[in-house]
Subunit: 328 residues, 2 copies
């Protein structure tokens, strides 16, 4: 890789500078749960944008045990864990290094095992109060597009970074716009035993995250993130007027899949919640990258839905019965 | 690719002969629903075995709209649809050819749109009466390992083929061994509104297929195939003594993930159904490929479980409310 990049978060730039001159054949996106969910959007970007670098996405322990044959000296392994203490992900960094790969950890905790095990780390911020530019998906995008810019002169890089810089006010307007919808959703879904989510393309990870982290983990509600294209080949037989679905409509090339799934669901379902990225004011988001940015916006809004749901059910998002409480 | 191969199903050999001399950089595994589920095991094989050929797996319509940048003249696209009429998959073959890729369709119907759209097709058999060697996963394995043998001189190829030739009696013994368990499962789960499945590695597709095709599509039971490694990062909070899980234990390198998930589930769940490939007589299955063969066996046994469940619920596996009945 030969081109230096500007404007990214300063610690992303440090990592990109270190990657200068290094040959990268493949990228492995490795994490668990909610941190793995953000990788789906990065995989979508790499599939669409990269001319030569291949990519794969694995849950951390699957990555170690699967032990992909092509993992080696020309691999970049990107790992993520907010606390940096996820044992499988910290171990995956060590494993990847033992194979000669270059490892970059995204984490909120520079002193964590993950940050310490990786060649380099990038600190990101989290929580409702921080700027969108500094959060996990934004930092991941800066890194991935930075690599594509350095290795292949990808021209969308600058547009991506400036769009991320303009994202915070987009969030704020969208959150305000959705505030009452979120409360209505929470009230009407407070007693539902099952809630499905559905999306495709760069948005699938956002649906996956809401299903496994918010509904299953934090609310103990049955769920499954259905791929909008797979829906018609099995899962759609489950819908009827009693089964709630959250359907995401993003702005990427797979939107027709999400629209088709919504259209079918509207004929046979009644409990539908639709988040459509087209409904939001995307001022400052470049047309060429808005498909990639949509999952961040949908994700932020879904957090608001989650908070309202937790409130309506009197079941705090922090409540657990096993996680951090028993050994596993 | 330069090495000719023997012993595979004769129409697989025809395809492999046609691939002689062709350069293959990447393989795309493209199908929908149950036909996509079989691709997960092939992806596992490619990840573990291939030195140079990369691979990706997509639902057919996602593949078309995602439009991977690296799809081109050095791509092999393997598609599958039993009837060959799945519109998205037939279209995906056309799309891949338009990009210069070489397309091979697996189907039961030589006259179907999919078979006609692809460069070549391989006919496979289906149904309880046919020999395991001639069914979809077996044919897919013969093709994938045949390519790895031709392109990279993969030495497990012969062991794989002879193991598949010996598979039918393994099925028969395992089915007999599981017959009463399947009936007990069916009786005890007949009224369950939700049944989860769980697996990892080469077995994940088998769990996925049972969740989306058998439970959701054919029985209208809520479900989700949980990855055994992801389980501990969200989904496990859903389990308690009232929530049923089917947990698969295969024989591949990720078995420790499945064992850990089972062990946790046994502490906090009560409605557990465990299918462990170690319990079956694998006479004739080569030690070096048994991890790849396990999902076929688990899949065949789960079909028996499905048939018993349908009987116990008086809900035939052929019953649909939308599929083939309404437009979508």
């Amino acid at each position: 890789m030969s081109k230096s990049v500007m404007n990214v978060k300063s610690n992303v730039k440090t990592v990109l500078d270190q990657l200068m001159g290094r040959k990268i054949n493949n990228i492995y996106l490795v994490a668990c749960g909610g941190s793995s969910a953000i990788m789906y959007s990065a995989k979508y970007i790499l599939d669409r944008e990269s001319q030569n670098i291949t990519s794969d996405l694995y849950s951390s322990n699957e990555f170690i045990h699967r032990n992909p044959q092509q993992l080696g000296k020309e691999s970049l392994v990107i790992l993520c864990s907010m606390s940096g203490t996820t044992p499988e992900t910290a171990e995956a960094a060590k494993f990847a290094k033992s194979k000669g790969a270059f490892t970059v950890a995204l984490t909120n905790e520079p002193a964590s095992p993950l940050a310490q095990n990786a060649d380099l780390y990038i600190k990101y911020e989290w929580g409702n109060g921080v700027n969108a530019f500094d959060t996990n998906l934004s930092v991941l995008y800066q890194l991935v597009f930075g690599v594509l810019h350095m290795a292949e002169n990808n021209e969308k890089f600058g547009k991506l970074v400036s769009s991320l810089e303009n994202l915070q006010p987009v969030y704020e307007k969208a959150l305000e716009q959705e505030a009452s919808n979120a409360r209505v959703f929470a009230q009407s879904h407070a007693k539902e035993p099952v809630i499905y989510t559905m999306a495709s393309g760069s948005n699938y990870g956002t649906a996956y995250s809401f299903s496994i982290c918010i509904l299953m983990e934090m609310q103990w509600i049955h769920s499954h993130a259905i791929h909008a294209g797979e829906y018609f080949h099995g899962p759609f037989e489950i819908i009827d007027e009693n089964v709630p679905f959250i359907i995401l409509l993003g702005l990427d090339e797979t939107r027709p899949l999400e629209e088709r799934a919504l259209s079918f669901s509207q004929r046979f379902g009644k409990k539908l919640t639709v988040l459509d990225a087209k409904q939001y004011d995307l001022d400052g988001i470049d047309e060429e990258v808005k498909g990639y940015i949509a999952p961040l916006i949908l994700n932020r809004i879904l957090r608001q839905y989650a908070e309202e749901l937790a409130e309506a059910r009197n079941h705090p998002l922090s409540k657990r019965r096993y996680m951090w409480k028993v050994e596993y």
